[in-house]
Amino acid sequence: MNLDWSVVWNNLPRFWDGALMTIWLSIATMVLAIPGGLILAFMRLSRMRLVAKPATAFVEFFRATPLILQIYWVYYVLPAYFDVQLSQMATAILGLVCNISSFNSETFRAGIISIRLGQWNAGRAIGMTDAQVMGRIVLPQALMRVLPALASTWVSLFKDTSLVSIISVADLSYVSLKIRTESFRIFEVLTAMAAIYWLMGYPQAKLVDWLHRRYKVAE
């Protein structure tokens, strides 16, 4: 096997653009999926069944089906059957946001439940409304507790953005697979793709470990 790595160096700007797109997609998705997850978590915690049940169904559904299929579904079904025209980028983000919001909502819900009931009672006893107790006492503590779990979701999201390449969003994997088909230097290009993901993902995985140690909840 004779290797020619020049294909990688010559295409560095394209890899770079792809990597930027991957980062951008991850950030955009997370920015939307944090409020999305919070809303779903509040809905599931609601005492009104009409609010809680649909949220539960949404979350369970998106957690139990493959993201790649969700992306296909949004891509093929929305324009053809509901007359919604979205760009590929918007389709990708919509699919990712629904999926990650569902995972985030479980994280937030666990965090909120983990705060002892006594804190609610104490808040009410000093005359706060339920919304105030949630906003000022429960939620800030819950968010600190779930920070490591959120960080883990972030790393999975970062990896999962690679799936949008199937609907031709020009992220790192789409760009790499394209360069592979153009150049026929299969081994070099695919190894470079893995290496670039590794370079970006490895420090993040390590950071998550650090967050888990730093913010470990001791009961």
């Binding site: 139990a64 579904w73 990896k159 893995a194």
Partner: protein
């Protein structure tokens, strides 16, 4: 909105059922491979000393950093160039998915093994057992029960990730759904049916494992 018809699904039900079976086989085989990797890597990282821990930690963290899609594509297209002969798609799929999931499995098993108190290892060694014997007969059985919920969610991940093998054309459910959707021009019915099939596969696994765990949880406490 065009009307919904069922003929694309009923007309190819055998083809799709075969694909569903491939999805199950692919998920189970990759889960088995991941479990084998996980037990070895998890045990060596826990009991094998610092050098092994660092070396295998590198494998685990690398797999946490590289997307499954990339691992699969690399295994199918690039790895054969290294070994000199091609892999069939199912083998490549099982290897790619298994090696990726193996890292997560290793972390789960390591957490399970460290959760069993050290005194039990000492007690087993004091009774004259070898380390391997102690792990196999004392530590691992308890750890496995404690790990059940995590194993259940990893299995759900295995099923969901198996859909990504469609990218290297493993004839599993998503891939064959694409084929039928393309031939019949009915993506809505086909993709929705596939979605339901995955849900019906994954949701009971998660719930079933939780139920089994509640039955067995007391066996894991010490």
């Amino acid at each position: 909105m065009p009307s919904i018809v069922l003929w694309p699904i009923t007309g190819s039900w055998q083809f799709l059922l075969q694909a569903l079976w491939t999805t199950i086989v692919l998920s189970v085989l990759s889960m088995v491979l991941a479990f084998a990797i996980g037990v070895v890597v998890g045990a060596l990282r826990t009991y094998g000393g610092r050098v092994l821990d660092l070396a295998l930690g590198f494998y685990v963290d690398s797999m946490r950093a590289i997307p499954v899609l990339v691992v699969l594509v690399w295994t199918f297209f690039a790895f054969p160039l290294v070994i000199g002969h091609s892999l069939n798609v199912l083998t490549a799929g099982v290897i790619g998915l298994g090696v990726h999931l193996g890292a997560y499995m290793a972390e789960t098993i390591r957490a399970g093994l460290t959760s069993v108190r050290r005194g039990q290892m000492w007690a087993a060694l004091a009774l004259g057992m070898s380390r391997i014997q102690a792990i196999r007969t004392i530590i691992l059985p308890q750890a496995l029960i404690r790990m059940l919920p995590a194993l259940g969610s990893l299995f759900v991940f295995a099923v969901k990730d198996s859909a990504i093998a469609s990218v290297i054309a493993v004839p599993e459910l998503l891939r064959q759904t694409q084929v039928v959707a393309g031939n019949s021009f009915r993506p809505f019915e086909l993709y929705t049916a596939a979605m339901l099939a995955y849900f019906l596969l994954c949701f009971p696994i998660a719930r079933g494992v939780d139920r089994i765990y509640r039955r067995l949880a007391h066996l894991g406490s010490s």
